[in-house]
């Protein structure tokens, strides 16, 4: 064997485990564990009394969300050939690798957190408080932290290795999404008293929240179905080659983009509700958990959107090659590719804003029970979400156009 080959085998190992991927996975798990332990320490009931437990738990969600997204993206981008035709055994081995890596990383994170406490230089009081955890920490909390990171990593690995097909209809029947959304809206409007929103009885709060959740879930499920319907309807009327290709690509991408589009819908809808129904008070630290969740949700959506675009690169290059060989100019392929990228987002964002506005109406007024944040924070969230989405789209467009360069097409 050549020296280069031996070196590569020594680095990657005979098992096919990628050392870089393992180290990166452990680092992500370790860092997430340190942050979660800091949050746990922050929530400990010390004098003066700490914040309520709900806040840190909500704040932990973005951390776990970030772990899930990083694991998903890392696996999808480092398993190019395997995942396409992966059998169950190879998928299981990848998931096991992620589980062991995350567990080891979590233990290392706990050790690192303890080591930070013993640093000789005295940190400032707020930082010291974040490190106040160790033997006196509630063991269920530490166990939960140790279990949460590997669990999320394993779930993300399972999702990443079972990659979506390019041509399947949405997994749920098309009528489920609109029905759930309508049921939620109906529930909200029946419970709410538009004339006197402050009269919402305490017992109705869970029902109103469940209705709001149903509306969000229904909207997230409806968007892919709507895209499929829109794409197929467009395709049967398309009279030009690029519109036909674009319509069919929009239809085909509905399944692959189900999760990112659903997350975008939820994030934009919640922010719209908050913007319309939230109070006009200055932003406070208490708003941070919800704001963080929305930020993470939109970040995850943008990252997933970009990942799906990168993943479908080989299929796109082959399509481009075929179109080129039968005499399609570059503009035809480019227009179709760009339309297939932009149309889903253009469908998703207005629907999310409409849903958010519809749910904001019964939630408006003082004392509403919906998870709203001040209007300023909502505006900031909207700018963040739309800006991030725009950036992801621009990046996706750059990748798509790069895939269509003649040099790459020739090699396809």
């Amino acid at each position: 064997m050549a020296p280069a080959g031996r070196l590569r085998n020594a680095w990657h190992g005979a098992s096919g485990v990628d050392a870089v991927r393992v180290l990166a996975g452990a680092a992500v798990a370790g860092a997430a564990t340190i942050v979660l332990l800091c949050l746990l320490a922050w929530a400990l009931p010390v004098e003066p009394p700490g914040p309520a437990l709900l806040g840190p738990v909500l704040a932990a969600l973005p951390v776990l969300g970030a772990v899930a997204v990083l694991v998903t993206i890392g696996l999808r981008l480092t398993l190019p050939g395997q995942a396409a035709d992966a059998n169950r055994r190879s998928r299981d081995s990848v998931v096991s690798e992620v589980a062991v890596t995350a567990l080891a990383g979590s233990f290392a994170g706990v050790q690192a957190h303890l080591a930070l406490r013993t640093l000789p230089a005295a940190p400032p009081a707020p930082v010291r408080r974040l490190l106040l955890i160790g033997a006196s920490a509630p063991w269920p909390g530490v166990v939960a932290v140790l279990a949460a990171v590997p669990l999320v990593a394993v779930l993300a690995a399972g999702y990443a290795t079972g990659r979506p097909s390019t041509r399947i209809r949405p997994p749920v029947p098309p009528y489920v999404g609109p029905l759930v959304a309508l049921a939620g809206l109906l529930g909200q409007y029946l419970i709410a008293d538009p004339g006197h929103p402050e009269r919402l009885s305490h017992g109705a709060v869970p029902a109103a929240l469940a209705g709001y959740g149903a509306v969000l879930l229904g909207a997230a499920l409806t968007v892919p179905w709507l895209l499929t319907w829109l794409g197929s309807g467009w395709a049967v009327r398309a009279g030009r080659a690029w519109t036909l290709c674009a319509a069919r690509r929009v239809e085909a991408s509905a399944r692959g983009l189900t999760l990112p589009l659903g997350l975008i819908t939820v994030a934009v809808a919640v922010i719209t509700t908050s913007g319309l129904a939230g109070d006009h008070t200055p932003t406070e630290m208490a708003d941070a958990p919800l704001f963080l969740i929305m930020t993470t949700v939109s970040s995850c959506a943008a990252a997933m959107l970009f990942t799906v675009v990168v993943e479908h690169g080989p299929a796109r290059r082959e399509t481009s090659h075929t179109l080129h060989s039968i005499g399609a100019g570059e503009r035809i392929d480019r227009r179709a590719a760009l339309a297939a990228l932009v149309v889903p987002v253009l469908v998703c964002v207005p629907i999310a804003i409409a849903v958010g506005a519809l749910t904001a109406w019964p939630a408006r007024g003082e004392g509403n029970s919906f998870p709203t944040i001040p209007a300023h924070a909502a505006l900031l969230g909207m700018v963040w979400t739309v800006g991030l989405l725009t950036l992801a789209l621009i990046a996706a467009v750059v990748v798509t156009l790069r895939d269509e360069r003649p040099g790459l097409r020739r090699g396809a």
């Binding site: 009279g239 030009r240 069919r248 399509t319 060989s325 020739r410």
Partner: protein
């Protein structure tokens, strides 16, 4: 003879004739002379010449890596050779830019690539009708013509199916229908029976050759398969990017 079996448009002819060098054309519909093509450090073709008569079936043969697909790509204008000339119907193709060659391919050539899938997101009928839509034929008319060719190639039953999951024989027949749907002057087929054996291979080649002959088209095959090459009127054997003087040994 006319440029193709379809009425030629004036601006198309101008596109082909623009900047004609002084070399006199001959009676070949397609002619490549001194073609050399490199890709990175690899030389795919070295000074290869080929001439194809109108209405004939011409086969480029040879083992894997001989340069068959490269020569076909040069003759069909998919790739511009690094050196040499390509003439189509007395017009020089080698002076055309990428856009000009693409337009020429769309209007006068049909391509079958046995290894390239149909577009997976389109239905079989849409795949077959695509070259007509590219040529701005009205949708209804394009799909009517596509249906005629699908009937002829026995793929109508799966017209509304997506290519994913269909058998290789059906996919190859659909690819042939897509290449023939515009009634091109020349049909280029690179391993048209890829992955097919026995009766399926013979069936596909019989349909392809009879359709091409009945419509007065020229067929250029690139194949490593003797059974496919047996349908040709003339053959050019290649080995390592050069004409093979010991073609019998292939």
């Amino acid at each position: 003879m006319s440029l193709s079996s379809r009425p030629a448009r004036a601006h198309e002819r101008r596109a082909v004739v623009a900047g004609v060098p002084t070399t006199p054309p001959d009676n070949d519909i397609l002619r490549g002379r001194g073609l050399t093509l490199t890709q990175g450090p690899v030389t795919l073709l070295r000074d290869v010449s080929a001439a194809v008569r109108a209405d004939e079936t011409f086969a480029i043969t040879g083992p894997a890596g001989a340069g068959k697909s490269a020569l076909l790509a040069c003759l069909s204008g998919v790739v511009a050779p690094d050196c040499g000339e390509v003439w189509f119907n007395s017009g020089p193709m080698h002076v055309l830019d990428e856009k000009g060659r693409t337009a020429l391919r769309r209007r006068h050539f049909g391509l079958v690539d046995g290894r390239t899938r149909l577009l997976p997101e389109l239905t079989v009928a849409e795949n077959v009708a695509l070259p007509l839509l590219l040529d701005r034929v009205r949708r209804a008319e394009a799909f009517a013509i596509a249906r005629h060719w699908m009937d002829r190639l026995d793929v109508t039953e799966h017209a509304e199916s997506r290519p994913t999951g269909l058998g290789p024989a059906l996919l190859r027949r659909a690819a042939v229908a897509r290449a023939l749907v515009t009634r091109p002057a020349v049909v280029f087929a690179d391993e048209p029976a890829h992955d097919l054996v026995g009766a399926e291979l013979d069936h596909l080649m019989r349909i392809l050759v009879s359709a091409v002959r009945s419509h007065g088209m020229t067929l250029v095959l690139a194949t490593a398969h003797r059974r496919v090459a047996a349908h040709a009127d003339h053959c050019l054997a290649l080995r390592e990017g050069r004409p093979d003087p010991h073609a019998d040994g292939w």
